[in-house]
C-alpha cells in the first residue's frame, strides 16, 4: 500500500484523484472568502469554479516550456546557420516538423500553413508530453511532494484533468469559430449553420443540427483525451493497490509493466488523434463550400 496515512484502497485511490487546488474558500468554511490551498477533496470540490488546479497547470505549462525551450534553441541555431548539417536535437526537431507538415498538408489544402501547422505541432508535442507523464510511476512524484515538500495532493498527468483537456479543446473551438468567421464572414458562417443541410425552409431544424455538430467537436476532442488518459491512470492506480504482499505484488508488477507497454501505444496515439482532429476541424472552418 502506498501511504501510511491511508488505511484502505478506497482512501488511497480517492487521494490520488485530488488535485492540488488553490481557490477561494466557500461560504460556511472557517476561512470563507479567503484564498488558499484546499486540504481535502471535498474542500476542493466545495470551492467550485473559483479555484485553480496548481499541479495540472504547473505540469502543463512546465512541460510546454520544457519542449518549447528545445524548439527555440533549434530555431535560433537554424536562423543563424540555415545550411548547417543538422545533428542531434536539430535532427529530431526537423524530423518532427517534417512529419507534422506532411500530415497537415495532406489534410489542410490551403496554401497558407502558417497558423494551422504550428498549432498542430504545439498540440501534438504538448499532448504527447502530458500523456507521457502517465508512465511515471503513480506514487513517485506524489511521494516526493508529500514527504519532501509537504504538498498533500499532486497529480502529475495534466491530461487526466478535464480542465486541461477541455481547455485545449475549447481553444481549438475558439480557433474554429474565429477562422470560420474570418474566412466566410459572420454572415457566411451564420448562413452555413442555418441553411444546411435542408435548405432555408427548415432553418430552425438546420440550426439545431449544425449547432449540435459544432459543439460536438470540442466535446469529443476534450472528452476523448480525458477519458483515455483518465482510465489509463486509473488502471495504474488500481494496479498500485495490489502491492500488498509478495505474490500479489509480483503479479501487480507484471501487470503494471504490461499496462505501461500498452500505454506506450496510447500516449502518442491520443496526441496524434487530438492533433489530426484539430486540423480536420480547422480545415472545415477554412473550407468555403459544403464540406460536411
Amino acid at each position: 500500500m502506498a501511504s501510511g496515512f491511508e488505511t484502505t484502497a478506497e482512501d488511497y485511490i480517492a487521494h490520488h484523484l485530488v488535485n492540488a487546488t488553490f481557490g477561494r474558500f466557500p461560504e460556511g468554511h472557517e476561512r470563507a472568502g479567503e484564498w488558499g490551498f484546499a486540504s481535502s477533496g471535498s474542500e476542493a470540490e466545495a470551492m467550485g469554479f473559483m479555484a485553480i488546479h496548481v499541479d495540472s497547470m504547473g505540469w502543463s505549462i512546465g512541460l510546454a516550456i520544457f519542449f518549447m525551450y528545445f524548439f527555440r534553441r533549434v530555431a535560433v541555431s537554424a536562423a543563424e546557420n540555415p545550411a548547417a548539417i543538422p545533428t542531434g536535437l536539430r535532427n529530431v526537431v526537423e524530423a518532427l516538423i517534417d512529419f507534422i507538415e506532411g500530415m497537415v498538408k495532406s489534410v489542410f489544402k490551403h496554401p497558407d500553413l502558417s497558423y494551422v501547422a504550428p498549432m498542430a505541432l504545439t498540440i501534438f508535442v504538448w499532448v504527447f508530453f502530458m500523456n507521457l507523464m502517465d508512465l511515471v510511476p503513480v506514487d513517485l512524484v506524489p511521494y516526493i511532494a508529500q514527504y519532501g515538500l509537504g504538498i498533500e495532493y499532486m497529480k502529475i498527468v495534466p491530461s487526466t484533468d478535464p480542465n486541461i483537456t477541455m481547455g485545449l479543446a475549447l481553444s481549438v473551438f475558439t480557433l474554429i469559430i474565429f477562422f470560420s468567421i474570418r474566412q466566410k464572414g459572420l454572415g457566411g458562417f451564420l448562413a452555413e449553420i442555418s441553411f444546411h443541410p435542408f435548405g432555408k425552409w427548415l432553418l430552425p431544424f438546420n440550426l439545431a443540427l449544425e449547432v449540435v455538430g459544432l459543439l460536438a467537436k470540442p466535446v469529443s476532442l476534450g472528452l476523448r483525451l480525458f477519458g483515455n488518459l483518465f482510465s489509463a491512470e486509473m488502471i495504474f492506480i488500481l494496479i498500485a493497490t495490489m502491492y500488498t504482499g509478495l505474490i500479489i505484488g509480483l503479479l501487480g508488477g507484471l501487470l503494471q509493466f504490461a499496462w505501461a507497454v500498452f500505454h506506450i501505444l496510447v500516449v502518442p496515439l491520443q496526441a496524434f488523434i487530438f492533433m489530426v482532429l484539430s486540423v480536420v476541424y480547422l480545415t472545415q472552418a477554412f473550407d468555403e463550400g459544403e464540406a460536411h
Binding site: 469554479f49 473559483m50 530555431a75 536562423a79 498549432m119 504538448w126
Partner: protein, 156 residues
C-alpha cells in the same frame, strides 16, 4: 474533477504557446529546412552536370587519341615513303657520281697514254737519229732530215 479556473488557465497557456510556436519556432526551422533542400537539389544538379561534362570530355579525349593515332600512322607512312625516296635518290646520285668519276679517270688515262705516246715518239725520233749517226759515223743534219724523221715518228 471539478471544472474551474484551470480551464481558462489552460486556454491562455495554449494561445500563448501556439503564438510562440508560430512566431519563434516554426518559421526559422522551416525556412532552414527549405534552404537546405534547395542547396541539396543544387548540389545534385551540379554533380549531374559534372558527370555529363566528364563523360563528354572522356569521349572527346578518346576521339582525340583516335585521331592522333591515325595522324601518327600517316606520318610514319609518309616518313617511310620519304626515306625510301631519299635512299633511292642517294643511290641514283651515287651511281651518277661513280660514272662521272669513272669518266674522268678514263679521260685522265687517255691523256696520260697520249702524253706517253708523244714522249715515246720524241724519244724514238731522238734514238733513231742517234742510231743513224752512229751508223753513218757522221753528223746528220737534223734539220735537213726533219721531214724523214717526222714521217718515221708518225709511223710509230
Amino acid at each position: 474533477m471539478n471544472i474551474n479556473l484551470t480551464l481558462f488557465g489552460q486556454m491562455i497557456a495554449f494561445f500563448f504557446f501556439v503564438w510562440f510556436c508560430m512566431r519563434m519556432v516554426w518559421p526559422p526551422i522551416v525556412a532552414a529546412m527549405l534552404a537546405r533542400q534547395e542547396q541539396i537539389a543544387e548540389g545534385l544538379e551540379t554533380a549531374e552536370r559534372a558527370k555529363k561534362d566528364l563523360s563528354l570530355a572522356q569521349k572527346r579525349a578518346t576521339d582525340e587519341i583516335k585521331k592522333a593515332r591515325v595522324e601518327a600512322s600517316e606520318i610514319i607512312e609518309l616518313a617511310r615513303r620519304r626515306s625510301e625516296q631519299m635512299i633511292e635518290e642517294a643511290k641514283r646520285e651515287a651511281r651518277a657520281e661513280g660514272e662521272r668519276v669513272k669518266a674522268a679517270a678514263t679521260t685522265d688515262v687517255q691523256q696520260e697514254v697520249q702524253r706517253a705516246k708523244e714522249s715515246l715518239r720524241k724519244e724514238v725520233a731522238a734514238l733513231a737519229l742517234l742510231g743513224a749517226e752512229r751508223i753513218l759515223e757522221r753528223d746528220v743534219d737534223a734539220a735537213s732530215h726533219a721531214e724523214m724523221l717526222e714521217r718515221l715518228a708518225a709511223d710509230l
